[in-house]
């Protein structure tokens, strides 16, 4: 039962559901599983070198006959090498983030590759349109990991971006249930990008400790930090507590950089030291509290069902309202 939207048509997928390119989570297994389940899987190159990325692309292609893509954070010094691998491997879709959409869009288009760019404000969405991207991802404050300086939430960001551009619009941040997809569609989104929900599946490359911890969070158990550097949503743990304490006493950028150190997300997310590592997940994790670590296809089917149930309820309510008016007349 394919859904009809500008995103399903653009990427030739069944559901307008993209899995975000998440460091230490989004390897070929997760990307292929999401594409096989009817969405668009992304390989997250944020934690990969060129050879590792090539390996992931080759394995992903073997594991799915459907479209998949690669996410490239443009602030990475290795971005040019990663792009070369993507072109060489003829990946059909690239999601760029953390940089200017003008930088790579033409280069990718010349090689027949579709481009979506991630933004956190409507001003940047307009720049995306000017750069000629094929779709824009608008990501709100509730999203895990790196985040916009304006702290605009998905509820405020999606109507703003919808009014600013006619581009196919993918909403991200806070979407972990099917009814939330209906909500952002109500505000003009054509599809969703999901991180949290897929980061905690069996096919995610993250450590089991990380997944278990994130499937037991309460509301308020993730917080935005590093406003002085680059805003990032972290799970409360020993590392986050040290960051919180440093920020409370007004720590300088230098002190904070020292706290971050090197490889803290790898230690936390991939290696499973959930006390000392840097853990990144979205606010919506608390909506999954008590769930098991499930395979992607189970998660996707539940999500799609939740969407259809919510939509049916909304339509029934509209019908009931119409009927009650006729009765009154």
């Amino acid at each position: 039962m394919a859904m009809l939207s500008r995103i399903t048509e653009l990427f030739e997928i069944d559901y307008p559901v993209v899995s975000g390119g998440m460091v230490w989570c989004s390897g070929w297994e997760l990307a292929a599983a999401v594409s096989n389940a009817g969405g668009l899987g992304l390989i997250g190159s944020g934690s990969m070198g060129p050879d590792d990325l090539r390996d992931n692309i080759i394995k992903c292609r073997k594991a799915t006959r459907y479209n998949f893509g690669v996410n490239v954070p443009l602030m990475r010094p290795q971005a040019p090498e990663l792009m070369e691998v993507i072109a060489e491997q003829k990946v059909p879709i690239v999601f760029t983030s953390a940089g200017s959409p003008k930088k790579w869009t033409s280069w990718l288009h010349e090689r027949g590759i579709m481009v979506a760019h991630v933004v956190s404000s409507s001003a940047f969405a307009v720049k995306c349109e000017e750069a000629g991207v094929d779709a824009v991802v608008a990501e709100g404050f509730e999203a895990g990991g790196h985040n916009g300086k304006e702290e605009t939430t998905t509820m405020c960001l999606i109507p703003a971006v919808r009014r600013a551009t006619n581009l196919p619009l993918i909403a991200a941040g806070g979407i972990a249930t099917g009814d939330a997809m209906l909500a952002v569609e109500s505000m003009g989104a054509d599809g969703v990008q999901i991180g949290t929900l897929f980061a905690l599946t069996q096919e995610s490359a993250a450590h089991e400790n990380f997944k278990r911890l994130c499937l037991n969070l309460q509301e308020g158990d993730t917080m935005l930090h590093f406003r002085k550097l680059s805003p990032t949503r972290l799970v409360k743990n020993g590392f986050q507590n040290a960051v919180q304490e440093a920020e409370n006493r007004g720590a300088s950028e230098e002190e904070l950089l020292e706290l971050i150190g090197i490889g803290k997300t790898r230690i936390g997310i991939l290696e499973g030291d959930v006390e000392n590592g840097e853990l990144e997940i979205g606010q919506a994790a608390s909506l999954l509290k008590g769930r098991e670590i499930e395979p992607v296809d189970v998660v996707m089917q539940r999500f799609v069902q939740e969407y259809y149930i919510a939509r049916k309820q909304l339509i029934n309510q509209a019908m009931e309202e119409q009927m009650s008016r006729r009765t009154l007349m």
Copy 2:
């Protein structure tokens, strides 16, 4: 054209739209105008003494034949006197906030007064149900003024509260356009509470300087502060800049309390010193950029129209999807 929801039925109103009880904005004129326009107007007693409140209730009753209510922040030392005035004046509906829902609900119910309580987490929503309130308001991080410690956004909060309780649910925070009302309904809300949109109308008691400034904000022009005291969303101005600077260098609670001083919201919102006063408005203000200061009925009609247009689009899209499936078979 009345809408059908548990909120319109509970409060006997046409649209499930409540105007928040906002300090220095929500006097009798705004409350009566919202009730006359088909919503539920609230008088905000947060900036009133008992005599002032009585005066506002009497004037509001003269100005509308429809239901209206009073919002009482329970942390106010004068809350008991305000409640006595409400009972004496037989106000039909009270919205309580900033305190325990157990404190006043029975007392108000014994006097035939309906009670809604404002929360920022699903845990507190459960407490509301236990306390026997008639409806719960769930308010997200994007809301103006006082805010929850968990920083949960409306997109994450509404599904959480909907799963936690069966109470009639009013969503608040980030809702300034009709499509946003459809969005929260998609996630199970029965109605909305709106602050920002009504604070900037002609009937709001706020100063014209405040309204003009807030109708010209960009995304990112409001920020959450006072996390060490009581989180509050402020508009960027001279006062906010001083707060930001103090927080950046790790100012103590005592220093921050001194910065807040006394009467800073009065100076900013009521008296119109928009540089030195404390200005409170929601993130959604940036969605209103460039609008004029309009009367409530114009604003309400546009909001309702936006809602119907968004709902029609959503239903049409669902129909189209059904049709395309049949064509494929």
